[in-house]
Symmetry: D3
Subunit: 237 residues, 6 copies
């Protein structure tokens, strides 16, 4: 039924490659099928001006698609001279999701910047970014502990994210591009490994959806997210 | 318990003033308590380039806060030279919500632009904007029918939006600023008058929220939204 | 003769509503007929870098038209990414006019920013802005005195502004849009309540004007400005 | 009394050098004492979009100061990424002044762009620009007639401009920088050779000025402008 | 002597991986030791405005470093709102080099855009980009021939590029970052497989260099470039 | 053979006029035939942030063409809102060339900014800029010594620059525009008066060039540069 032959709740093969580049304190290539995102975590001393003097750290994120990550080339935002609304929206989501996972007090006045650069896109780039970025974040925190910058582990719990949607009338998990572009409803769910929600963003692309359909989407998301937490853990061991 | 003395599910007094300014085809001042947003709908012939030749119309939105709509002055985006991520995110949400309410084919190759300018802010500006903008949209569509531009009414159903959140541990509706800034979870719900969902955006500002809490927030939102549809209808009669 | 039936020197009904919004230290809605401008005065500690250490205050202004303040929608400057020449010219004029009214030494190292946002335009928005902004400025100064920030009143005199022009060969006061767009000469006069000039800007839109016509325009302006000072005073009592 | 020893109404030595650069259709170096502005007029076929199909031409202007035209270096606007308010205000003034001198219908659908680049500044750069630009415009129009682009001469009259001001209590003409920076009132007058006004812009920099002082400034300006028209004519012969 | 133990003329291990991403018409990951650049070639119908109607094609390039490609994070150009001088300089060099390799007439009115995104940087990113981009270009041209867009092969010859420099007094080839940042002279050489030069850019970073040293640098470059052509050929078979 | 009748190695008449404007610490108008560039050197206390605390000075440069320096008008970069790649490339080259000529330690924590503004262009504007800028730099350094800002002369040697190229198959020096636009190869050479190289930038505009042709171009450049050093010296005496 699904173009890939997957069952409704089946996610794509997910791989997480740590230490993908050599300079970043955390560097992860995350792949959800053909979607490939490089997530680099950078540790810097100090915090942005609006956070100064509170004894707390900061986590921020930037997101970008390489111009030819997609079927047709999209204009480079650096050449256009500004980041689009979609980009800003996604990087704000990634940053909020990761900040929710960290005790900023334990981080001290340090900033971690997560760069999520989409090498190849096939749907679900923002949820793949969050899932990969959390692993890069863990590596960056470990680096900080090894360097003696942190005394305690500021991580409260792992976070992962999954896209779900209503495709041809039925709820499905982890939509690839051909499904995503035809989906009536699209929902991104960011969850903690403790089973709580950080972010739920459901959007009717075509027809509005019912409260019951929302429920079904949440159920299917919860199930797929459990798998993602297992994959994150395996990657970290 | 709530700063205003309201019950958990009680929304603020809402007023909708039509024909607020004299030039726009639809012009509504919407007030949710101290939150006041001017929603102007402009009708223009033609559609953006990416929509040309499909025989369909387009609805777009722009959102802005006057610099001193808030307690402290925020920098004017025109002076800064770019719109911030929050602005872009909100105007994309408003536009998506209104497009969902309209049969774009029946609109013909015309564009309706909704400008939502926040005169005074006290929480819930984006949901007030959607609620008011839908009324301005109806007035603009009526104008188009009166002018003979439209043969049939493209409106599929009214849409309204409400913010709900978890404040001091309990779900409440229509948060004003003091509640909003202290809320653990913040959720915006865009619904149709037929009781279906167009958009659900829930965000943990502090602690993550459970699936049960999400359920409670949805229930309280549905209740308040029913009231908003009554107020919209009253305003349109 | 005039579209409105007014006499040559007759200004439109002018209303000044103080405390129009709740957050700003001075907040005035000024209406010259159908022209409506919201003037918010914001008080902030400190001065811009180029003024630091001189023991003097600063007054600045920003001006904007809501996109649909006019007959047809104009592009939002924040979306375009820059303020146009007309906007910059007007806000520089407003700021100069108000600075002339204030003893900056008595203001101390504080900044007052006046935001003039045109809600609805029907000619004369810049002169209405100055006239309303001066009242908002007075309210902001009163606020500062009440808070003990100022020891003495830095206001030297009230200022008001009026547009005059040559319409169908005759000098008229307070042009509305239909007159303004057809006027051969357009002049803005900023005056003090003591009858002196702060700014005179006369422009031939069509045929050049004679020195005698300039004289007539100044006379008619002086007359109308006297009325504006009475209206300001009434509003402040 | 004046730093230069000039009498109150005496203007500085003015020289107008035509054909200063070799590519422009009109190219004039204008010098008012130490103020030196290069005015290049460029003729191009066609008009901006908003003028198309009206059978009329267009005249526009751009103004810039070389970074080190002044005592201390000012930041290059191209490097800053935008033109300042002063620049936009001046180039709008130059363009309006020259458009007033030309019958745009006789110009046909052609555009003349006047670039005024200040090589060295010592007060009065905008009025020198207008005075020199009018000569460059005449050369460009002659070029167009020689090329057969124009059938009739679209020039209605020469225009020139002069700055006057109140310096140490007395009205003076053609202020140089040391006077300008200390002047209480500063006024720019753009006049036609037929003795009519195109633009009058008077600004109180310090104390407001009286209607009588305005009169004296206009008188002194008229006198100096007569001299400028003689110098323009001499240069054109 | 060299940090890596390489001989003066020895280049780093170079690998060229074709079909690295799935959407681009040509997609190459090129690695010079730890320098890794993704070169994607996009084929689009039509040419930029300034090339229209000449019956010729166009080749352009864009270059970017991922923010954490380097030891410390550099600011994302899309977030800064403009591309830096170094970026523009490099992408102009890449584009010129590739255009030199192609008969633009045989390309027809089509555009090939080469995106060079540096995943990891360790010196020589611009020369690696050119070397990899040429292979991506060949794949894109093959794609066009397979699609019937091209009748003849527009490739005139392969091009490759190598950085050479004077490090600790001696000429060396293919500098890695530690050498590059300490080099007295840095030179980039772009050559054709037929042994001719497309671009030579030598810069004294510290002391000026002699004409003899220039000669030695050219010799060492020529030698290394021969190897690069072999590697390109092997990758294409 | 050459359009100007010059021999292959003959440079155009070069004149260097010092003290061309009155405000800059060094101000030179340099003319290579019809190419005229104004080079102003500004001395300012302090250094950019990235240089602070090293006890060293900084030299930077900005380059611009007046819009009508060329045959057809080019858009003003300040109006476009950004400097183009060509501009950035040239100003980086000028700055690097001058920094190579100066012992930055002896300069102390001072910055010299060289503004090169092209008044009229006829090929070779970047090399004329460097040649003239070096003389302006010398005047600025003399000014600093006279003011007691410098104890020793930081100038290590004069620098000059020349463009050479292959025009109609033969190497020629100092190309004017008609040659430049038809040249197959274009090369800019920056040399010290001691006969060493600071920068060599050779580009094949049409056919690639051989190593032998590169050699011939270098020979012809060296010869012309000797003449330029004589002209610089004469100007400085």
């Amino acid at each position: 039924m699904r173009p890939s032959g997957r069952t409704a709740s089946q996610i794509r093969p997910v791989t997480i490659t740590r230490h993908y580049t050599c300079h970043a304190e955390g560097s992860v290539l995350v792949e959800f099928g053909n979607t490939k995102v490089l997530c680099n975590a950078t540790v810097e001393e100090g915090v942005p001006r609006f956070m100064k003097g509170q004894g707390k750290g900061w986590i921020t994120a930037e997101y970008s698609m390489l111009p030819r990550a997609t079927h047709t080339r999209s204009q480079r935002e650096a050449a256009r001279g500004k980041q689009g609304g979609r980009t800003l929206e996604i990087q704000r989501l990634i940053a909020r999701s990761l900040r929710a996972a960290v005790d900023l007090k334990l981080l001290g006045e340090n900033t971690i910047t997560i760069d999520c650069d989409v090498i190849q896109a096939d749907g679900g780039t923002r949820t793949a970014s969050i899932t990969g970025a959390c692993v890069a974040l863990v590596d960056a925190l470990t680096h900080m502990r090894n360097k003696g910058i942190l005394k305690a582990n500021p991580l409260k719990f792992m976070v992962a994210a999954l896209s779900v949607g209503i495709y041809e009338g039925a709820p499905v998990a982890d939509l690839e591009y051909v499904e995503d572009s035809a989906a009536e409803t699209d929902m991104n769910v960011v969850m903690t490994e403790t089973g709580k929600l950080i972010e739920v963003q459901g959007t009717a692309e075509g027809e509005p959806f019912s409260f019951d359909e929302l429920q079904e989407l949440l159920d299917i998301a919860k199930h797929g997210l459990r798998e993602l937490f297992d994959i994150q853990k395996a990657a970290l061991n």
